[in-house]
Subunit: 511 residues, 2 copies
């Protein structure tokens, strides 16, 4: 065992916190993946009900230590208590949603084509399929959601719900939070009398263990939420494996917002936008980093109002030193680059890693000739682009890379007049929002949190919502199988009472 | 334009056929992808009904030239007329299945979470999602299915049904067949008054254009059926793209068959197995290349019967020179390698590229120490492995790589006694067959033709059956969208009358 340890930083004081966290070794990693493989042979055969009980128990165990989590996570992330309380609730809610999904088992997508023994020239077999789990899944904790997209976050909940085992690479910015949650999961596994190997985690100072994890032959899928740089580096390693596996990387975007004339006149447009830009100190992958509108008389007062609002905004501390440094470097670059006009800058709290919210302005022409302007700046920053006309705005949307979200603000008649932009948005984004801001991602059945590259590496998948369960499953089909050998979801008498597609029609029928 | 041409070979005579086929240039390729991108902006907005009409019209146009296809394809592939007639019917059937799927539009997987405007602390938005097409898709024709997995094969039909445009890389072994089909599709597009760019194709002597095609930034997905070598080479190129795209490679497998004692005594076991091994001169990706059983007194007479049956088998011609050469080299290697016992060899017709069907025998111990034995030999060959006991058989299944299919033959009580093998099969194969042979892949709703790597590169996808449509689609989600901007599948009054998941429940309700 390694005796080397690391600490986490308090972003408010800039000092290291007391606790020491033991670094994992390559041997530890290997053992954990092997344990996850072994545990998979047991866990894959559990019923949806058993998995639901595990997820409910994890939710309970997290709820039982929520005060401890609150103390630790606020210290480690600098996020306000309200946010941590909300995110703890969301994390518990996600676990319970996936418990429900696992318990009802409709996620298995049962499809049955019954036999036609008298068909000519050849009889037709009975063919049935449903989804099965993949195996051990690697999950990378995200810095900006220390709970909801980390140790027991969406990917872990989805993987466990569908019968996979999980090895988490803990995020170094919140190792104390990670340990609280990992311990809660371990207690839940013990209470449910399930193998410990179903969930484990590794701690690493640098990138070596993460790299080894995604390249380990025992790992069958990877869930990652983080930066473009980190995501594409891991994707590159995954693509060098002998056995290709899905790498679900969610890497953020600038989430363009298109303002039609009527929205410029609405007073709540400014407050909604500024609120969204500042939410979580701008550290959301759905942060609105790009605001597009056609220049007119109305844009002048809109920009003035935006400037005024940002100047009254108070910047809080960033999640860690690296994020802080990158934001400050970006701000320095923007000040020095004449293509940007600094529209306004907020103030900041006096704590160590605090930053100033900021708005910049540019023209459509300049935006089109400065590719850097379309790249995400992680933090409370947004760029307003004044386009010369509607065509220039369309051109920008046409040229922009894949996005998690794309928002339109205005009146229905304006949307209808520019329906081609809404059609175009379907090629560019995972979620299209009308008269709303992109921050605030509902955890439900219909949510898509993903989008064309570089927003995500697998645009056909979502990392939020019930359908995230699919990313860690694949279909298996049974031909002329005896009833006793079929999964319950495919048995004649439909013991799970789920909807199944039988000979092409969805129904709850028995065969 | 290139003036360089190539010809196709008649595998029966070994001579080149008369027709010349003009090779495409890199410029041609680029133009075709650009046309496909442009056509996509039109085609993506067509209704399911319009796409269904296109697919029906393609089916009609193919049916109208089926005599011409029969003549050309038998000449180019050496396959018997009955097989070509059957495969033409299957290709037309596939097009019509996808027409039905497109027309009914239930494939779009509409999911709706209605708004909760009074929810505390924040109102909940209305969120709706459905699948949308990806863009231009590259399809690689397969040598062994000159119709059903080639120019207008499963991938093309699935891509067109879901609103994508298609660029086919024609297979060099059947360029005449390709031209017949491509012309039929062009006529159908004209009759339907749709842009020509919706379907195009390139012809190449070597691998350059195929490589350029999968790396072209305009291509958004690739469908490939072929060899492990070809598939992994293309996968490698795809993984070097800046924008990752799905590469659906289906690369064949040895399709193990496990014989339990009762099956050894059934006389039809031998005839079924030999029939499956010889079907299409063994040139199916589902060819049963590996037969596993526990050694006993019964295996002796089983092996004798198998030997006798293979010796009475008549080998026909292989599809092309490369496949013929590889098979002959494999047979020479097997004769020279002492770990194999040659169990029996058939005879062959006198035509040029004809081969002899062949059965070999080995022990479980030798199989476990000769990794080459688990690799596919494309052609009418199968290896019988006599295991010392049930544990050795389990060990072999545990160690074997991903397979398209895994079959069990025996009685229900035998399957139940070895239920752990059926559970294991779910980790190893895409389709698990009971008392049937793997050849003969039903085109239906429940079929999975795919499987863990190296059987396929994306085990969560199928290349046969209605769900193949999903591989060329991704979900988009709409938040608080006005009715007029929503796709029909998501509109309140459910104009398509499809099943939708509303607040977690499947139904045909209006909102």
């Amino acid at each position: 065992m390694n005796s080397k340890t690391i600490k986490t930083l308090n972003p408010r004081t800039g000092d290291f916190l007391d606790n020491d966290y033991v670094l994992s070794t390559p041997n530890d990693l290997n053992e954990k993946v092997l344990d996850a493989q072994l545990a998979f042979t047991v866990y894959r055969n559990t019923s949806g009900n058993e998995r639901a009980i595990l997820l409910e128990t994890i939710a309970e165990e997290i709820e039982a230590v929520k005060e401890e989590i609150l103390d630790m996570t606020t210290l480690e992330t600098g996020l306000p208590a309200g946010r941590i309380i909300g995110e703890t609730g969301r994390t518990i809610g996600q676990l319970r949603l996936f418990a429900e999904v696992a318990q009802k088992e409709f996620w298995v997508e049962a499809v049955i084509d019954t036999a036609l023994p008298d068909r000519q020239p050849l009889p037709k077999s009975d063919i049935r399929k449903c989804l099965v789990p993949l195996g051990p899944v690697a999950v990378f904790g995200a810095s900006n959601f220390p709970l909801a997209f980390s140790t027991a976050g969406g990917d872990t909940a989805a993987a466990l719900a569908s019968g996979n085992t999980v090895v988490v690479k803990a995020h170094n910015s919140h190792l104390g939070t990670h340990q609280c949650i990992a311990a809660a999961i371990a207690r839940a596994l013990e209470r449910c009398n399930l193998p410990k190997g179903i969930f484990s985690s590794v701690i690493d100072e640098g990138y070596e263990l993460g790299a080894a994890l995604v390249q380990h032959p025992g790992i069958k899928a990877v869930g990652f939420t983080g930066s473009y740089k980190g995501g594409t580096a891991l994707l590159d390693l995954v693509s060098k494996r002998k056995e290709p596996i899905p790498f679900y990387g969610e890497m953020g975007s600038v989430n363009p917002i298109v303002l039609f004339p009527s929205a410029l006149k609405e007073s709540k447009t400014v407050s909604n936008l500024i609120g969204s830009i500042n939410l979580g100190v701008g550290q959301f992958c759905t942060n609105p980093g790009l605001i597009l509108t056609v220049d007119s008389e109305a844009t002048q007062s809109f920009c003035l109002n935006m400037a005024e609002a940002i100047e009254q905004s108070v910047g809080e501390v960033m999640l860690n030193k690296a994020i802080f440094d990158t934001y400050e470097a970006n701000m320095a670059e923007i000040s020095a680059e004449s293509a940007y006009t600094l529209l306004g800058q907020g103030i900041k709290v006096t704590d160590s890693l605090a930053v100033k919210p900021c708005l910049a302005l540019t023209s459509g022409k300049k935006f089109l000739t400065h590719p850097k302007m379309s790249q995400e700046i992680f933090g409370p920053f947004s760029l307003i682009v004044l386009c010369e006309n509607q065509d220039e705005l369309s051109e920008i949307l046409m040229k922009i890379e894949g996005q998690l979200t794309l928002s339109f603000m205005g009146e229905e008649t304006e949307f209808e007049e520019q329906a081609h932009l809404v059609a175009l948005a379907q090629e560019k984004a995972g979620r299209i929002i009308f008269n709303g801001v992109p921050t605030g991602v509902e955890v439900g059945y219909a949510m898509i949190h993903g989008g064309p590259f570089p927003a995500s590496t697998v645009p056909s998948s979502t990392s939020v919502g019930a359908d995230a369960i699919r990313r860690f499953a694949r279909p298996v089909c049974f031909q002329d199988a005896p009833q006793s050998l079929l999964p319950m979801a495919l048995q004649d008498d439909n013991p799970l009472e789920i909807f199944r597609k039988i000979n092409g029609k969805w129904c709850q029928d028995k065969i």
